[in-house]
Each structure stands twice: as structure tokens, then as C-alpha cells.
Amino acid sequence: MRVTVRLFARLRDITGASELARDLAPGATIGTVWRQLAGEFPALADYERSISSAVNADYARMDHVLHDGDEVAFLPPVSGG
């Protein structure tokens, strides 16, 4: 299955992309995607404990199981307001 990954702020700078496509095995979770990305971009490791994640524009935990066509987002600590 295939998901779209959205990256924001410094995560986007690190990966050089605001949007990536990734192919996953069935049963993959948000965490699966994160570990895959962290393997490709070691600088992401800094964010291991501080990122939030979302699926289809709703907050979701790392153990959330993904489906084909999902939009996964990784969010560094926020600074709005």
C-alpha cells in the first residue's frame, strides 16, 4: 500500500520535501513510517521524542495502523500563537 507523508517546519528542511510518497507492507503503523524516514534522514533522530503525528488531518498515535491512501503527517513541536 502507498501513503503520502507530510512534513512541516524543520522536518521539511531536514528531508528537503514537504510531501513524500512511501510504500508500506500491510499492518504498517505511523511508527513504521517514522522509523523508515529516520533511517533515511539521521537528523530526524533528534525529534524521536518530541514529534506529534496525524493521519488524514487528525492527531493519531505512533501505533495507529495505516491504510492505503492515508495522509500521514509528522509535526515538530508547535510554535503558533
Binding site: 517546519a9 492527531y59 503527517a73 503558533g80
Partner: protein
């Protein structure tokens, strides 16, 4: 008509929020005795850096849902308050408003508390980031790890709101 909750590149105006709240009140508007508003402005310095301008970025659809969640929390905690909240994105110069909040209620205590609670919660859970361009460089500002289910953070926002 101006929506109560919004995120976009347009300049913020308190009058538009107030008008949106007025309109949303409908026939019950006369029951309200207080409107409290908050404007967050871009400052010219931050922890010793001379700031030139900011760029705000957001995950807009999730930001709107975060605003809705904050509105629901306020409705639960202060049922007589109605809220309007607009956040700006894109480049903002010194003195420009990045966020405008208005809370309207029969009584001022709830309007003050809800307006304060809203800005604290935005800073906790809205997927919005600012990049600071200062003399000598630029950097993304990173604040809170967004977790809308963190009840400790929510309690802290209530405490700060002096509720």
C-alpha cells in the same frame, strides 16, 4: 460572512471577529455583557535576537480542527462563552498580528478566562510553526509537543486562565 474559526494569509482585524461573534449570537446577542479580545503581535526582539520578520506555516486542516477542539473545550468549561479565533500564516512584519481571539459572554469573568485559555491551548496543540528571521540568521521556533489528549497541559491552560 466571516467564519468564527479561520487560518489564512489575510491580515487580521478585530472588528471582523467581533462582527462574526455578533452575527453568531443571533437573537440572543442582548444577553451578552462582555467581549474580551486578544491580539498576538510580532515582536522586534526575542531572547536577545533582533527579529526582522516571521514566517508562519501551518498544517491548515488540522489547525482548524484544533481550533474546533479548543472551541469545544471552552463550550464544555464555560457554556455561556462564544469564541472567534483567527490565525494568520505567511510572512508577518514587526507589529503585525499573528492571532486574533474574541470571547463574548454574559459575564466578564468567563470572557476573560476563555480568551486566555484559547491562546494557551493554541500554543499547546495547534499545528502551526513560526520561523524567525533575525539579524544574522533564521531558525524555526519549537515550543510544545502537540498532544491534545494531554490532560496535564489542558489543566495548566485552565490554571493560567485563572478559571
Amino acid at each position: 460572512m466571516t467564519p468564527l474559526l479561520a487560518i489564512g494569509p489575510e491580515a487580521l482585524e478585530l472588528e471582523r471577529l467581533a462582527a462574526a461573534l455578533d452575527a453568531s449570537a443571533g437573537s440572543n446577542a442582548g444577553a451578552d455583557g462582555a467581549v474580551v479580545t486578544f491580539l498576538g503581535l510580532v515582536r522586534n526582539h526575542n531572547v536577545g535576537r533582533r527579529v526582522r520578520y516571521l514566517e508562519y506555516e501551518a498544517y491548515a486542516p488540522l489547525a482548524l480542527k484544533a481550533f474546533e477542539r479548543i472551541g469545544a473545550e471552552i463550550h464544555e468549561r464555560w457554556p455561556d462563552v462564544r469564541l472567534a479565533l483567527h490565525h494568520r500564516i505567511g510572512r508577518l512584519d514587526i507589529g503585525e498580528a499573528s492571532i486574533a481571539i474574541a470571547a463574548r459572554s454574559p459575564h466578564r469573568a468567563n470572557a476573560y478566562a476563555a480568551c486566555r485559555y484559547a491562546i494557551e491551548r493554541v500554543k499547546q496543540i495547534a499545528p502551526i510553526w513560526k520561523r524567525e528571521f533575525f539579524d544574522g540568521g533564521d531558525m524555526w521556533i519549537e515550543g510544545a509537543t502537540a498532544d491534545p489528549d494531554d490532560q496535564r497541559a489542558r489543566a495548566e491552560a485552565e490554571r493560567i486562565a485563572c478559571a
